[in-house]
Symmetry: C2
Subunit: 233 residues, 2 copies
């Protein structure tokens, strides 16, 4: 009996490793998608933007794969308590990464509209990549914290969301001012507002992952502050 | 043995009913949040906007409750195959409703910024409630389709997403034109752009629910068309 139980435990550990490996892979793709989308935006590189959109299907397919794996693991291993919660957490984190991929894809979709032929160059574009970098870093750090079950690293991701929100507020004001001064660019700059908003949302999602990691590791919630909320602008 | 099995089946059916009742309640709250947020926006009613923000915590709490129930159901009943998939679907749909609630809350948060003191009245505000109505209808219809496991109704929700996307594109152009003609309103109208985008995203989420319902009922995917994507503007 004992060896039978051990066998199940080992099989379950392998399942969990497989779930974590899938999440890590998905996270890597999502992070790359953010970088590439911002690069495409900065350079007006429509081919790269198309690649980002195509690759998003890979992330979606991996989420579907992970979901099937979760159903199989639960059905075969009947995990209890903490183990079951860990499996459910994997499902939730995969859903968050899928959504981050969608935001990157959405940024990529706006590249042709921001760089429309004959339109003037928007200097404001140049301030966005730094925000993209910060958002991508948060995603990587949140997933690293997940891999390492590191509550301290998770708390740091949570803290950096405030910086990203401030960044967003500043960019929002910059873009609005730019529109006021250059009314002919309003349509293009409106797309940049959405790009900034997407980056801010990516940060919120990374923060949600960090909160899950922190709670799983400590049993406590990370601050009462509503980190998942944008600052409103 | 047979009666023991029957007992488990009956208990599981009760669990599923409870999950569905929770989802139905959450959906009702989310739908109401959309209506109230749009009413607050139209009237500049900041007290109502605050109520929408407060009530969102109720939706969040219900999602957490549902998640606990799901973990309990899986641990106690060890559901197999279709039953397990139904439990997982409930978890996913609850997450979608929670997100819809967030979008409504986000609209409510913009009310004070759109109706800032001394700012001029934006006529464009008056075209948004019709879009809000369409989005809220999609949410209700998607959840009704879920309750009734009605594939046909789910397909109709999926089809109406195109109308909502068209609505969004039209409002986007209207708002941009308005900004060009009234540069002093740009900051306020930028918030309206986000409101329109939030409504469009609510429709995407309702469509995702409809797709899950359709797949659960028929075993087929609803169209290859990327209904979950916005039109890009």
């Amino acid at each position: 009996m004992a060896s039978g139980h051990e066998h199940t435990v080992k099989a379950f550990d392998q399942d969990i490793s497989q779930l974590r490996a899938l999440i890590s892979q998905m996270g890597g793709l999502a992070e790359q998608a953010i970088y590439d989308a911002m690069k495409a935006l900065q350079r007006g590189d429509e081919a790269l933007a198309r690649t980002v959109r195509k690759k998003d299907k890979q992330i979606d397919a991996m989420e579907a794969e992970l979901e099937k794996l979760v159903v199989r693991v639960i059905a075969l291993r009947a995990p209890m308590a903490d183990d079951l919660r860990e499996v459910i957490a994997a499902l939730k984190i995969a859903a968050v990464i899928e959504r981050i991929g969608d935001y990157a894809k959405n940024i990529a979709k706006r590249v042709p509209m921001i760089h429309a032929e004959g339109e003037e160059r928007i200097e404001a574009v140049s301030i966005l990549p730094a925000m993209g970098q910060l958002a991508a870093d948060m995603v990587r750090n949140a997933l690293d914290a997940f891999s390492a079950r590191d509550a301290k690293a998770a708390a740091e991701v949570h803290a950096s969301d405030t910086a990203l929100d401030d960044f967003y507020d500043s960019i929002f004001r910059t873009l609005v001012t730019f529109m006021v001064e250059n009314p002919r660019t309003i349509s293009q700059v409106a797309h940049l507002l959405f790009v900034a908003k997407n980056l801010e949302r990516i940060g919120d999602h990374a923060t949600n992952v960090a909160e899950m990691v922190y709670f799983a590791a400590t049993g406590h919630y990370l601050a009462e502050a509503e980190a998942g909320e944008s600052s409103g602008s």
